[in-house]
Assembly symmetry: C2
Amino acid sequence: AGYYGIGSQIRSISVESLKPSDTFPRRHNSATPEEQTKMAELCGFETLDSLIDSTVPKSIRLDSMKFSKFDGGLTESQMTEHMKYLASKNKVFKSYIGMGYYNTYVPPVILRNIMENPAWYTQYTPYQAEISQGRLESLLNYQTMITDLTGLPMSNASLLDEGTAAAEAMAMCNNILKGKKKTFIIANNCHPQTIDICKTRAGGFDLEVVTADLKDIDYKSGDVCGVLVQYPGTEGEVLDYGDFIKNAHAHGVKVVMASDLLALTMLKPPGELGADIVVGSAQRFGVPMGVDSSGKPALRMAMQTREQHIRRDKATSNICTAQALLANMAAMYAVYHGPEGLKTIAQRVHGLAGAFSVGLKKLGTAEVQGLPFFDTVKVKCADAHAIADAAYKSEINLRVVDAKTITVSFDETTTLEDVDELFKVFSGGKPVPFTTASLAPEVKNVIPSGLTRESPYLTHPIFNTYHTEHELLRYMHRLQSKDLSLCHSMIPLGSCTMKLNATSEMMPVTFPNFTDIHPFAPTEQSQGYQEMFDDLGNLLCTITGFDSFSLQPNAGAAGEYAGLMVIRAYHKARGDHHRDVCIIPVSAHGTNPASAAMCGMKIVAVGTDAKGNINVEELRKAAEANRDNLSALMVTYPSTHGVYEEGIDEICKIIHDNGGQVYMDGANMNAQVGLTSPGFIGADVCHLNLHKTFCIPHGGGGPGMGPIGVKKHLAPYLPSHPVVATGGIPAPDQSQPLGTISAAPWGSALILPISYTYIAMMGSKGLTDASKIAILNANYMAKRLENYYPILFRGVNGTVAHEFIVDLRGVKNTAGIEPEDVAKRLMDYGFHAPTMSWPVPGTLMIEPTESESKAELDRFCDALISIREEIAEIEKGKADIMNNVLKGAPHPPSLLMGNAWTKPYSREDAAFPASWLRVAKFWPSTGRVDNVYGDRNLVCTLLPASQVVEEQAAATA
Amino acid sequence: AGYYGIGSQIRSISVESLKPSDTFPRRHNSATPEEQTKMAELCGFETLDSLIDSTVPKSIRLDSMKFSKFDGGLTESQMTEHMKYLASKNKVFKSYIGMGYYNTYVPPVILRNIMENPAWYTQYTPYQAEISQGRLESLLNYQTMITDLTGLPMSNASLLDEGTAAAEAMAMCNNILKGKKKTFIIANNCHPQTIDICKTRAGGFDLEVVTADLKDIDYKSGDVCGVLVQYPGTEGEVLDYGDFIKNAHAHGVKVVMASDLLALTMLKPPGELGADIVVGSAQRFGVPMGVDSSGKPALRMAMQTREQHIRRDKATSNICTAQALLANMAAMYAVYHGPEGLKTIAQRVHGLAGAFSVGLKKLGTAEVQGLPFFDTVKVKCADAHAIADAAYKSEINLRVVDAKTITVSFDETTTLEDVDELFKVFSGGKPVPFTTASLAPEVKNVIPSGLTRESPYLTHPIFNTYHTEHELLRYMHRLQSKDLSLCHSMIPLGSCTMKLNATSEMMPVTFPNFTDIHPFAPTEQSQGYQEMFDDLGNLLCTITGFDSFSLQPNAGAAGEYAGLMVIRAYHKARGDHHRDVCIIPVSAHGTNPASAAMCGMKIVAVGTDAKGNINVEELRKAAEANRDNLSALMVTYPSTHGVYEEGIDEICKIIHDNGGQVYMDGANMNAQVGLTSPGFIGADVCHLNLHKTFCIPHGGGGPGMGPIGVKKHLAPYLPSHPVVATGGIPAPDQSQPLGTISAAPWGSALILPISYTYIAMMGSKGLTDASKIAILNANYMAKRLENYYPILFRGVNGTVAHEFIVDLRGVKNTAGIEPEDVAKRLMDYGFHAPTMSWPVPGTLMIEPTESESKAELDRFCDALISIREEIAEIEKGKADIMNNVLKGAPHPPSLLMGNAWTKPYSREDAAFPASWLRVAKFWPSTGRVDNVYGDRNLVCTLLPASQVVEEQAAATA
Ligand SMILES: Cc1ncc(COP(=O)(O)O)c(C=O)c1O
Ligand SMILES: Cc1ncc(COP(=O)(O)O)c(C=O)c1O
Ligand SMILES: O=C([O-])O
């Protein structure tokens, strides 16, 4: 059955052949039916199905999967129509809600050339520096922007959202004091979602969060590790925290400040006020409202990424996969506008807020608060709800703080006419005797002179050069051309599922009726979103065998944390306060112990047997030994070793028998969909990495999404939100939410269309085929490679799951070759390395995914085989053990065409080791980057231009 | 006055500062006010304005320009809102009109990565082969697709539209017979617009076009040079032309066939039927309906491009600027679908037409024609208008052929449900007792077996490999990475105005409410378009000083032709049938004489003086000598030599005094807008290259647009259209149209938003500034370069216009260096060459445009200065005259990192002659292409795969 199902010439016509022909699964799934059979045969099976039957344990194999909606799959054009229909159900009101989310103009050149450009959203996290110089420069711009604006010396590149960043800062305060002071104070002028996330998070650290009015904050207890304040406050006030901070420091208390980047172009920066840590969101710097990315600058924090791999349960954070897209967009927004441009925007926003305040005073229908403000005006009135209702009728959203208080937040997109409309609302229908424009002469900058920003920012040439569209376009293009992405070749990172991010999936993400809705807008306005959430929740339930889903967690690890917190809440609700032991196999991903630790759980590790499987007897003993305190098991399936462990159902039973719950890490769902499911296997809760299995770009792309699914008994505990009511989807009968996990009620809602359209276009059969082909592709590659490299683990029938591990420990002994050498040499062949030395040191883990064609798999195998031959030359003594094509890799053009060539191998052997490279080659932009040197010589912001020139001169000398 | 107009800290606020800040002119125009002054000073002027005052002759200088709409310029976001509003005024009905325009699904991966990707739409025409290998491969794919589907051995890459292609074929028939047979017959089964364009065009060739029913065609007169038939016919019929063609050939008559690519996947190809020339449109291969691109395969036709430069009035065509975008899209559509996929689509369309015909027969309310059809069903009924009206109520457009005849054309986007809707319309409100799906078993393929396609097509691996999204994405990306575009660096082609194609301008082009409207849809459905046409017409009138515009011509040269035909019609209407002399300066662009010749005009050349200006006395003599027969002068302003000739007003007066009309070639309008205007100078008609001055991408982009503006007395003669009423905008009091110029009433309407948004966002001041800065940039570069190269022509005050000529004839003598050597060496510096050896052999003409920053101009000057130093090395004898960095250029990586290096200069001198190349470098993909060899060894389709492998092996050996 070919995909077209039609012979070359027909005489009579089938209904099937009259159906729309722009079907999607054949565009996503690579292997044609003929190729499937050929590849299965090479693996020793007659058909793909027999390979699958021998691979997935019978005891957990599902007969079939059936969706109540989209089961047959929509075609690409049907999908686009459907998404337009959903978009039309969303109603875009003018929003003055603020609370951390502001409308913004994404400069069209950034929209088209970054946000809508696969060369920017399909790369992997920039671990391989030589083929990631573009993003690394952009992220350095981002960090420079954050440090400049906040006045702190160091920044990281991005966290999940502002609330999560605040919680991370709280944890940092706790850690700095080694957990000795157990109170964290949050001022009441913080956003409510920030407060709730910190409260939820505090539980796991055994911290007490106290909220208080600023004026009531004291440290008399002597037990306070940190305090969080907001600047400007959630209701707009701009306060001078100078003395407040001095006082806190005098008591040994760290001060965390939540702030707003745009305001900081006009306000004295937190660093100058003395703040220790600043958190905030860069969303209003050209990132649509439906997503969020926060900067978390911090003294003494660097190289946080993946520390959980090393530190496991001692990790201070579980944040893992990079989501650079939004940081890149925000950085480019700053590059395009420059310091003057940003200040112009800020002054305009401040001016509009000022004009509004002047006008309201003239109208006399409401009382404007007396405190200085930046963009948010606080208003006292007789009946806040009546005014909000009137606004609503004019398609305007205001924030009602309480029965007599309203706030109005202005942003880059507000116009003079918009303010006129607001006056109409506040005048209660009476004619307004002035226009906003006419008020201008009376408007004053109300920022107190002591808080006026004097220090310069964004003085680096990068922020002062690319201000025309051509200049920015070329700058972005120059950076883009340095980065390898899925536009070039497969990126077969084990455990990362770098699959196709199809254009039809990406298109709705930039539909204005999705981008322009405030996350806290009343749900009547987001009916298109709501329909999608409901459908997606149901589809994910079918796929996972669960009963309810929460779409709140913004990453896989956030899902782990949320899922464990659900389990914790469940035990507590049953009076099992003591259940705090979490069993985690040593083969688990580092985020698992990190997340468990963040929930305050005690971790008990269990080992693996020689075949890489969990040692079931050891697990049984651990479970029984901890039966009274057992909270959960965390288990990844198929295992992180790329194997469908046969004992998985037994493992689940053991845990349940001992009073525990099974948490399944869904990172490997790409090997389950349609073939088995976490629910069917016996798990109670599981997260999905939508940014792996369900096509959301990650690494260069993002943000991520790690929704969790649960069995019925856990559904009541799914997270809620302080501003917008939410909980499990479908909704459980009753609810006792664990608290709040993310700043927005449905996480990064704007990117959910990607997973939704993927599922709806694939249909149940397309998705099941995807799992089968993902497995087929991995087995095909393992088969092709097994004569060259040992394949580390396999299932009972000799097959692997959707990924497999190539063992390089042998060639370390015979030829001194490390995984890094192979990884760097792969760049010369035009490829990104597989996952290195995880989960087993000295190995590479390869995950091809279903959307890579046989031709591409073959090319990758050819590269690895050719590299094996290069290694053999060393083994045979024909190549030098210290100075060979692998140790010298990657070879950038500057080296290859240098006048001097001192290598013992030839330039062409270095540059063109495979024939396809003659047709087109991706060039690494530098030679091997010295990681050890880099770690010792941290540079976290752009160097001053003078120094750059010097270094360049040195580099090219 | 900086662009922001706001100091670094304000206390009181101006209304100005509260207006939206996302203004556009500062993104388009490069130089900041400070830079403007600095650059003017370098040129010897105190200010930019004094430079301009000294450059533009006072006698033609306008005080100011003022628009009745958009005078202040919209901001980018206001513009997008306005375009959404216009889009919402367009109503997208289901179209079954056919007539050469069909709805199609643009595969999203092609939409995003080609049509919406500046790296594909901002390159120049691929004259510089070494940095255009991507497009060249894609265009070869296109030509292969056309030859395969038509069954002819050779094809060109694209013409303007199907109607123009037919007219070109007619001209070719005339030329083949050396103009000896003066009748061209067109069968009545051709599209009406095709017939009208040919009729209009025939006038100039002194050909007689005769239309006749197929059965009545005979060649008895002995005077027939060719015959045009359509396959399938405009009303759908599929006829076997085998005997018809034999008969024509027996009479020495060439047969031109208009055909449909999709139909040819199922029908015996024209080549097998014996056709000599095939014309058609590739629009339905994934190109939105609002634009059109045609393939014109032909025996004995190659290297047509630019032949007008060489052959001038003997040229057989005036088609000039390449517009490759649509051809690239259509080619990628074929690559993505492959032969099987295309056939599936064709069979489905045919099946739906068949189902419709079966159903209509069952309904019995109308009579289906008996002839075989492919996608168009012809129906006889009692009252065609009544049925069309009923359809209209269901938002369906049908084609009413006559009072009792309707045709219904199906396409890729038609669904079973759509056909159900049609049955409802035809049932006159009565219930339809069947569904389309239920009819399927009764539907038969109705293509006669003798006309069934047997021959294979698209067998080359390129059409059989890239069928998944990842594979196509990477293939497109691979090609893209070989082509230099405006994403990399300035492309300073004199006379070509390669300026910024801003994203805000490009975005509306892919709004569905613009793309999905059939060009012949009733104008009530295209009210958004109509508003834009009206506004654009008015704006262009203000800009040019004219009274009425026609938006029909699809290119500058098409505008020239249309404008001269207007003049011809004007003279004829006044009884001046004899006025047929056209005076053209020798400095004119080659399209001018070519267009004049196509109008049947006699060309009288006038020379230039030593300063490059038109010799006014010679012109006066020519005008007076021809005063009785003088039709027109064609003149470019500023001149093609880059100078504002002082005598231009006198020149216009001389022509008028002698009874002639002044045709101004508007290619250089970028130096006029806001400063002077053709109308003000004294021209009667002028074309605008919207794809130069008004931002439509050309070269890699396209299609082009060459609307013409006229003075009041010429307005009645502007072209009309046989299907949709149109004429001058604003409409003149009366009309006597010259005929039809293009297949669609308003040309490539879909790309007009680009020029419209450019003008509306710039406002009158922004546009005037653009002209000033364009002139400034040219003068700045000329100044920086004058100490290194002679600058050929200058105006009376020593300044140049918006472009200038660098003379290389000296270095030919001193160092053997040709313009080509400099052009190729510029590639090593990362630049595209300026216009080579036009208008003066041995020179380069540089046009920087206003959207290039000073930094970019400096980089380009630095490159040319550095090259001059390289030339000096030859002059000094330090470098070999035959074997040096210039003669060896460009240097591709394969050469630079080859094991052997035999050049007398170093690899690094070859690769990195400037410091910026160390930061990022665009690599030419091959060494210098041998044009002479290429001309002698024409390859017009893809080689069979076997041969490719051999050649590759040879190339890498
Ligand atoms: C097995 C496994 N679990 C959990 C995670 C964490 O997911 P995230 O990076 O989305 O937080 C990963 C991420 O790579 C993973 O591979
Ligand atoms: C001076 C001049 N006139 C006419 C034309 C013809 O315009 P088009 O290529 O759009 O037909 C050109 C094109 O480059 C030109 O430079
Ligand atoms: O493109 C030109 O022929 O100028």
